[in-house]
Symmetry: C2
Subunit: 337 residues, 2 copies
């Protein structure tokens, strides 16, 4: 199985992306196609011991920049690294695609190139969220700013399959992010979605609140893409602000600086547990293919871990399982009506 990696996407592309691809080939025995400016990629590979690795290059002459309008850029730049990487999946050359570039463009390219699974109304970004107990999957993390209750029910289904297959949760607990525990609490969207989730056959544990998100109360957190994106960015921002303030507080004077040296290791392990790069990318679920969207600031480790997650998603046939479960639920609906 080959994984197509957009070598030109991301704040530290192509250097960190190329490094991450090499790491994945070496450590995970992955097969990777680096897509982008052949000359630049070869230049970067010069300094790496890559003999024996299953690493290919697919040239692409254009790059979609961060500021570009997603849909326009994807339609215009047919030979961009992002579009070419997606086409490799569409054509069956690669099994999955990964990009750390312009998120909107990555969604747009995958949606246009791979297409939706039959029965899925809206694909969703399923983002791993570090919690005090491990990791949860939050979706939608930003693909759909406005959703209807049916969308949320489909997110729950897709998230459950992903959490089970890729993170190994046996029957993932699904929580609906709302503002009160009772089923009547929330906004119009969540109150209606609650009823659909109750009948979904999933392991639905009810509403969870903002304070529960980081405590690992459930394995799949369902919300619309507006709320999900705010939750994701707020968590990153607050953790960053706190760690920054801690750093300042610890170097205030000589006593705290000595203390800081002694507690350094403990902090490093804590920061590691909160580290988004541990989990690599977030898949755009609901498409006819695996498309992983990585953080713009991805380093080599994040790219390697995104490749690992993509391989796992392909191995476990996440796409096929989503399609099958939709067929089952629609045939059940037909049988009962």
């Amino acid at each position: 199985m080959k994984i197509a990696v957009d070598a030109m996407g991301g704040d530290f592309a192509p250097a960190e992306v190329v490094k991450g691809a090499v790491l994945a080939c070496r450590e995970l025995q992955a097969e990777v196609i680096l897509v982008g400016d052949e000359r630049k990629i070869n230049e970067l590979l010069k300094n790496q011991p890559i003999s024996g690795l299953k690493l290919e290059i697919q040239n692409a002459t254009e790059v979609i920049e961060m500021g570009e309008h997603p849909a326009h850029a994807v339609k215009k730049k047919k030979d961009s690294s992002l579009v070419v990487a997606n086409r490799l999946v569409k054509d069956g050359v690669a099994a999955a695609v990964i990009s750390a570039g312009n998120t909107g463009a990555a969604m747009s390219a995958s949606l246009l190139t791979l297409g939706r699974i039959k029965g899925i109304n809206r694909p969703a970004i399923a983002s791993p969220m570090p919690t005090s107990k491990g990791v949860s999957v939050l979706l939608d993390a930003g693909a759909n700013a406005d959703c209807d209750p049916e969308n949320l029910a489909q997110f729950a289904l897709m998230g459950s399959i992903y959490a089970a297959q890729v993170f190994g949760f046996s029957t993932p607990r699904v929580g609906l992010l709302s503002i009160g525990e009772e089923e009547t609490k929330g906004n119009k969207l969540t109150v209606e979605a609650y009823q659909l989730l109750k009948q979904s056959g999933l392991n639905f544990i009810g509403n969870i609140e903002g304070r529960d998100v980081h405590h690992g109360q459930c394995d799949v957190i369902v919300c619309d893409g507006f709320v999900g994106n705010i939750v994701l960015k707020l968590s990153e921002g607050l953790a960053g602000a706190l760690f920054g303030q801690i750093k300042n507080a610890l170097t205030e004077n000589l006593v705290t600086t000595v203390g800081a040296l002694l507690v350094k290791g403990a902090f490093k392990s804590l920061k590691g547990r909160m580290d988004y790069t541990e989990y690599g990318g977030a898949p755009l679920l609901g498409l006819n293919g695996i498309s992983m969207i990585s953080h713009g600031s991805s380093n080599a480790k994040a790219i390697k871990n995104a490749i690992r997650a993509a391989i796992k998603a392909v191995d476990e046939d996440v796409v096929g399982k989503i399609a099958a479960s939709l067929k089952n639920s629609s045939s059940q609906r037909e049988a009962s009506s």
Copy 2:
């Protein structure tokens, strides 16, 4: 000016509430009416030196519990501490009311008893949010799960007046919480609200994202009550989880424990800056009177600070200024049409 305090509301009521009221009388020369079970309040006051303080008791025979249905409880329990405290404001005996009890019931009691300012469609909870630069005011923090763009524009107006009068920001910067900086980014609600805010005459700085909330990029953060409540609880939950994990990490072994002793002071000051009790309560803005809603887990210090904020809001005539600015904007609209 007398402040009516619901002595029976809150996780640590009446003990901490009574203590907080005494602190406010002593340190701020406040005049407080403690509303609730006379016998219990007197019992608690026995152990406090209160001679010379302007502290009264208003007996109330009922208590609204945390689990009760807000509107039902308020209508049924006419002699509850919460309803009686609100009535003192309505009757002109007290200038403001404070409760740390059932939030829904506190909103309901104030809305029913005090009524809305003419022209305000929906009152909103304006919650202080600690940031790395100080404090911002976030509204709505949970009073309205579903909002329209006009509601958000009114929240911005009320929040600006509160931030200016109570927190002393000269021309408060207003940010609209969304999922992208450009004015076309967001959900339907925020994209429409953006246009209203642009024309509002307020110091509108545009959209802010989740990652900006805790960095003090603006003084007033506007969002619907569903998003606001999640932001508030997520922030509390994440900060709590991080501090908990830090504590664990610091006592892992002898070296880190020694280090922890050395950095203890630095942490305490950091936790202080993130401490919600510093700012006391969150006013329900848009009513004909000042009603402060305090955190359920309020201690004496939080109650004292809520009383301080209430006095400031009355002194600065926040209610009158909101009413006046609505009159101005409606007469401007009439003049221009």
